[in-house]
């Protein structure tokens, strides 16, 4: 029989990865990677040191932002961003409904399904910025290019989520509608739409949120909106105006997030 002293007197947490070789191997791999990564990152420390002063000026600018001197530009930029966001979201939602229906396994025939799914995959794999560059090349500078970019990105985002939502509906009502001899459109209208509507509205509001955030960025490549104003302010080294623009963006994003959260809470 074991005596009491044979048992260990202290307890230690079991490690996350139980095999020691893998555990230490991962650490070693991480160390080797970090060595090579840091080796290839060239940092001009003198430039960074000089930047400290500019950074400090930026912090100071953030503490007393200059809303007044570029106020009309800021208002124009925000206005453009907001109109662009709304138009793109509405257009994107309208267009993503057929794509969502087309890429739902339980509704669409296989060729349509494959076409819609591949379109969504392409739309999702490119960053908004890259799409914006192409759109600016196609449509010229300005808000219209931004509108097309955001619409395209919205379709990729919403159609996939719609399709997943439609695939998860309760099939009983769909079968019931089919049994009454309803045609495809009637099936969608009476069996699918009531089940997915709350989620559709919630996701659209969420996308409205995202589109506003993105509209602040695509202006950097010339697609209009507040991003263009911000880029100009940074290029002119007007840090106090840039700080004002950033604060306005943060405020609007927080407001939009709060509003869409409230609406979503009411719908569900």
């Amino acid at each position: 029989m074991q005596s009491a002293s044979d048992y260990p007197t202290t307890w230690r947490k079991p490690p996350l990865i139980s095999t020691p070789s893998i555990r230490y191997g991962l650490w070693l791999l991480a160390a080797v990677y970090l060595f090579f990564a840091f080796d290839s990152v060239e940092v001009n420390w003198q430039r960074v040191w000089e930047g400290g002063e500019r950074g400090w000026r930026f912090v100071q600018a953030f503490l007393n932002p200059d809303f007044t001197s570029r106020w009309s530009n800021i208002v124009d930029g925000i206005y453009e961003s907001l109109t662009m966001t709304l138009c793109a979201t509405v257009a994107g939602v309208i267009l993503s409904i057929p794509f969502g229906l087309g890429s739902a396994r339980n509704l669409a025939p296989t060729p349509v399904y494959l076409f819609c799914r591949s379109f969504i995959a392409i739309a999702r794999s490119f960053q908004e910025i890259i799409i914006a560059i192409l759109c600016v090349a196609l449509f010229g500078f300005g808000a219209f290019a931004g509108f097309v970019t955001l619409t395209f990105a919205t379709i990729g985002f919403l159609a996939k989520l719609f399709a997943e939502e439609i695939e998860e509906i309760d099939p009983a009502s769909l079968t019931a509608m089919r049994a009454t001899g309803a045609n495809w459109l009637q099936q969608v209208n009476y069996a699918v739409q009531p089940q997915v509507m709350p989620r559709l509205i919630g996701l659209s509001l969420y996308r409205l949120d995202i589109n506003f955030r993105e509209s602040a960025v695509i202006g950097i490549v010339g697609a209009g909106g507040i991003g263009a104003t911000l880029n100009t302010a940074m290029d002119r080294y007007e840090y106090d105006s840039a700080a004002a623009i950033l604060l306005v963006i943060i405020l609007l994003v927080m407001l939009a997030e709060f509003a869409s959260g409230q609406i979503r809470k009411r719908i569900h």
Partner: protein
């Protein structure tokens, strides 16, 4: 008493006023959209828009075939891109951990003072895109990989901290009371009762963010923060469309690769 004939003969889902109100709401929404559309296209030159199909055909014909020989100059920027994403994620996660613990209702030292500050840090970091962070940092510390890494890190703080503090708030309290009952110090309670419960969320979030960061770091070079975006910017500026298409292909390949890696990691750890 009401006569039976006074009741409506047909069932209606909404009353007359309800229908009228919802119709009015839709009407005003449509009016708003049309108004926005007109305001947005205030300065649009429709000539360019109608010319877009021609432009599209023209650019596509210039893009194909990609200049494959350019690939040898892309390996270094691709490696840089992956480094920006990985080091940026690591740095961001390290900074996000304390923020998450300060923001969670059950672990914050002070609900009144510290929690709002932590929540503001999360909101500010989340509402500014990493490209804008990069724009600021390039202006401050000069172009280069470091600006990109810090931009990615700053953007990641909000994302990781938000998901983590929500996980911390949802932990099972019995384990916390059990560890507290043994007389553990606050740090030990965190270590033995809280951390093991949020570990899966933490690893999952980190991998997810790394995946997003790979995508984002491919475009950071547009504002001068290193990586493959720098080459993209150069090629676009010189209208070298065959190089642009090759860069697009390599970005797509990198994104697919990162998705594969993160799926493998998720399977291995969770």
């Amino acid at each position: 008493m009401l006569n039976i004939n006074d009741y409506p003969q047909q069932w209606e889902k909404h009353s007359r006023t309800q229908r009228l109100l919802s119709w009015l709401a839709w009407l005003s929404f449509v009016v708003l959209c049309v108004f926005c559309w007109q305001q947005m296209n205030h300065q649009t030159l429709w000539y360019f828009v109608t010319d877009a199909p021609n432009q599209f055909a023209d650019i596509s014909s210039r893009m194909w075939p990609p200049r494959w020989s350019y690939m040898e100059r892309l390996w270094q920027p691709l490696w840089d891109t992956i480094n920006i994403a990985t080091l940026g994620t690591a740095l961001g996660v390290v900074m996000a951990i304390p923020v998450a613990f300060l923001a969670a209702r059950n672990t914050t030292p002070s609900q009144l003072l510290v929690r709002p500050i932590a929540l503001f840090v999360i909101a500010a970091s989340r509402s500014i895109n990493s490209l804008i962070w990069a724009l600021l940092l390039v202006a401050i510390m000069g172009p280069g990989l470091l600006a990109g890494i810090i931009a990615i890190a700053l953007r990641s703080i909000g994302f990781v901290a938000k998901l983590m503090y929500e996980a911390i708030e949802e932990i099972n309290t019995t384990q916390v009371s059990a560890i507290t009952a043994t007389g553990a110090s606050p740090m030990q309670i965190l270590d033995y009762a809280v951390v093991p419960q949020i570990m899966p969320t933490f690893i999952g979030t980190t991998i997810f963010r790394w995946d997003i960061n790979i995508r984002e770091s491919t475009v950071l070079g547009l504002v001068g923060a290193g990586g493959i975006g720098l080459r993209l910017n150069e090629s676009l500026a010189t209208l070298a469309w065959p190089q642009v298409s090759l860069i697009f292909i390599s970005i797509l390949a990198t994104v697919v690769f990162s998705e594969w890696v993160s799926a493998r990691c998720r399977k291995a750890f969770i």
